[in-house]
Amino acid sequence: MDEPAATSIPHSASNAPSLELLSRTQPHIFINPLKKIDEGQDVSTFLISKAYGDIMTFLLQLNRAMFPLYNQDVSTSGKKRVQTWDVDCQAIEYSETVRNLRHLLEELDQIIDEVPPDPGPRRFGNASFKKWYQTVEERTSGLLKSRLSKSTLQYPHDSDVTAESELSSYFLGSFGSSQRLDYGSGHELSFLAFLGCIWKLGGFTSSSEHPHPGNDERAIVLGLIVPYLTLIRRLILTYTLEPAGSHGVWGLDDHSFIPYIFGSAQYGPAISPSDQRPIEGSRPNAPDPADVAKISAVERQRHQNMYFGAIGFIHDVKKGPFWEHSPMLYDISGIRTGWGKINKGMIKMYNAEVLSKFPVVQHFPFGSLFSFDQDPNAKPPPTSIHAANQPVRDGFGSSSAEKVAAPRESPQLGTPAPWASRATSVPGVEAVTAAPRASRGPPIPGPSVGTAAPWARGRTAMINPGDGAAAPLARKGTPSSAAESETAAPWASSQPAAASAALSPTRFPQSGARPPPPPAGRPIPPEAAGDDAAAQSMPPPTRAPWTKPP
């Protein structure tokens, strides 16, 4: 729709920040990504890390590009035309990288055909997802090599570690947990990081300045994230992937978050390249936000708009009144100040509910491209409340009841997140917990539709079985050796061989090669241990309590 022309339209790209490319002038030192967030307090370190800054920069950069743009060609009538970026928009040019990665996603989709769901009895998630994931895992190196350019994968490097190590880590974290048979916004975040890595390595930028600023970003969102979401939805439906740690009706969405961000931007008001990101208003022909509850309107919009695409999927899988099974989205649909406002809220919420939540980010691995090093330009963590309410290792007394609610009342800069105050833990109690028992075994997921313990990161403390008949627990190593070693299930049955054999294939893959357990009867505290294996497989954010992103 036409709008009155503004005075002058700068042709240069906007000065909105974008994710910085590595400088090709010297070889880069890549690092095998590792998990760094081991307990709640580490989240505040994350929030001033380079990785956090890069993730937010990249997200905002993509988000901004999705707002409708005033066309730089002024029509004869003197009015500016507005270019919108619907999902089926033809005005976006895909670079070779984008085209190749689209093929990569197609290949992953074809693997679903190779691995049909297991028809046998099951609790919920379908065990065949493990096979799908295994297949992808086995083929990852080949897939990446065939679909990413050498200049990206073999980016000049200074050590044995290549860019591919970092890329494959985020790539494999993007499709759900094969152990828990679930999927959540932590996996989605991993895919965003995968794309961010390619961006930093220069894989997405056109050699010459594209005439339309934001084209590269739009190609990423519509050319890659949209088909990624399509793939994920097929995985969820095919293998009945659990909305991990679902908060039921009290979350935004069971599985996804970013389609709500980019989708609301698609309906936002038009901007010029130099404009700030709008914080309210809508493009003239945008649907009423209240349409999300109307099936017919959703059907009309779901193939053009990412927000409605996500809503459409909810309508597909949930039975019942929309306002009842999705009260948050229903409430948001009452916003009168436009899609720009919704977009702004979604970003705030993503920051608070995904990036600031321990259960979501705890398994995010950090390497050189997304680095845990402190960002010298970082502002102090915006909300100390997040940190204060992250889970500590242990301890939760009834005295904390008051503390749970308290932060709500306290004035807060930035995001007064109702949710921020929910994560609970008792500051100060931690010291009471016997340190040596502080195990950090990987949260080892199983195919369950259950609730995860909010503090679930690993088990602490084991116990004396009581009658000594079957010492249920025994574990490897000593606390001192543990920090370096791969994490085994902190304890296991007293029949080492049999028990490991029984357990490891399904739930404790990394526990197979474990030394014999100590004598039965007296349990040894599980050791704190690093956990590479878990880092690779990004358990879904959802199980963790304060996780509640959708």
Partner: protein, 415 residues
């Protein structure tokens, strides 16, 4: 009509009640619950229910299928709240019924009846949304701390009584040999399983006693356990707990010794009872949930034998068919939230255990099985013969128009 009855009828209509009244009811409930033991003793007949998770309309369907309170005795195994839209209405209704009919309804604690879990999985948000403050959440959490950890159902029958609705239809008495009956929500029998299955199983060399089995002299479920379940028609004692067993708990008595009046700890016996899951493993395993443990068939059979239990009933895990017996029927999972989270497509179930009337001198029935009585008293019996079990399976309540609420002010992020 008393205030309490009024509250009950409001809540049955899925309406919330004023905050001061919530406070009062929670206070009364605490006074009741504080007197209950960690393991509540419940007499059959009783209907055992699993997770509800705020699915209020489905809870109404449960009462329709299982019979209303106080006509039917109920035992709810926790997880009343979180995830669903109506945790408040569901929990407050159950609490009001508890206060009104304390002997007719038993509520035990689930892992979601906890401050920490409810702040994460929705109940806290729901209270804020519906009352504008966290007060009601706080009152409810104070009640959670007093909920019992388990229940022991005594006086069960090994046979099935006619279904409560059967009487009008004058159906023939259920054959004594039927151990399990499955009925749908229209009160039609969909399957029956005879007990002979179990006899075959028992002759399978599995009834040798593990070493160290104590001789039995006391009432079932106590440390001095015995087989005095009563008559040869007794179905034995059934332990009900939300999650499962704990490596720290080898007898029901040890549960009785816990200090339960607190927030659910992150570990230890109390935590395990609410968080653990059965699994096909040897002995114990690490739980994927990050709390509690996985426990295998040997653990359950040994526990049941040592405590003279015929069955453990627990909830805590979605099962697509509504219930699932495991480990040679030594443990059953009962799940009572149909189409969980509006999307799982599962049916729900409740478990009815009949009363062993023979021991009360009401009727002296013989099933003509002379071997059974000596078998039942045998101190060497490894697996106790289970109670007659009727599972009523039901689906989600119909989606009749439920009215659409006005939009509430949106979350802070969108202000």
């Amino acid at each position: 009509m008393s205030d309490l009855d009024k509250a009950i009828s409001e809540l049955r209509a899925c309406k919330i009640i004023p905050e001061p009244q919530v406070r009062e009811i929670c206070h009364k409930a605490r006074e009741l619950l504080i007197e209950e033991a960690n393991v509540v003793q419940v007499d059959a007949p009783v209907t055992i229910c699993g997770d509800i998770h705020g699915q209020f309309h489905d809870l109404m369907e449960l009462f329709r299928v299982g019979g209303d309170v106080p006509d039917t005795n109920y035992l709810f195994m926790g997880d009343f709240v979180d995830r669903g839209f109506y945790s408040l209405e569901s929990f407050l209704l159950l609490l009001c019924l508890k206060v009104r009919y304390p002997d007719r309804i038993t509520l035990i604690r689930g892992n979601h009846e906890s401050r920490q879990i409810t702040t994460v999985y929705g109940f806290y948000d729901e209270c804020l949304r519906k009352y504008g403050s966290a007060n009601v959440w706080r009152y409810c959490c104070e009640v959670f701390d007093y909920l019992a950890l388990g229940a022991l159902v005594l006086g069960t029958s090994s046979t099935l009584e006619p279904s409560f609705t059967d009487q009008s239809q004058a159906t023939e008495a259920v054959d004594d040999d039927v151990e399990i009956e499955i009925m749908n929500s229209r009160n039609e029998i969909t399957a029956r399983f005879p007990r002979s299955r179990r006899r075959l199983f028992e002759s399978d060399g599995l009834n040798s006693s593990p070493p160290g089995t104590p001789s039995k002299a006391g009432p079932p479920g106590t440390g001095a356990t015995s087989d005095s379940g009563g008559s040869h028609l007794s179905g034995g004692a059934v332990l009900c707990v939300h999650g499962g067993l704990s490596p720290l708990i080898d007898s029901v008595d040890k549960i009785r010794l816990l200090d339960r009046k607190q927030e659910v700890p992150h570990e230890g016996a109390m935590c395990d009872l609410l968080w653990s899951d059965p699994d096909e493993i040897d002995t114990w395993g690490l739980s994927p949930r990050g709390a509690g443990f996985l426990f295998g068939p040997d653990i359950v059979k040994r526990f049941n034998h040592l405590n003279d239990l015929s069955l453990i009933a627990r909830a805590h895990q979605l099962v697509m068919e509504g219930f699932k017996e495991m480990f040679d029927s030594s443990i059953v999972t009962v799940w009572s939230a149909p189409n969980y989270c509006y999307r799982c497509g599962n049916v729900a179930a409740i478990l009815e255990l009949g009363e062993d009337t023979s021991n009360g001198g009401v009727v002296s029935r013989s099933n003509g099985d002379p071997g059974r009585s000596s078998q039942a008293f045998s101190p060497n019996q490894a697996l106790r013969s289970g109670p007659g079990r009727r599972y009523r399976v039901f689906e989600a309540a119909p989606q009749d128009p439920r009215g659409m609420p006005a939009k509430k002010p949106v979350a802070d992020y969108f202000l």
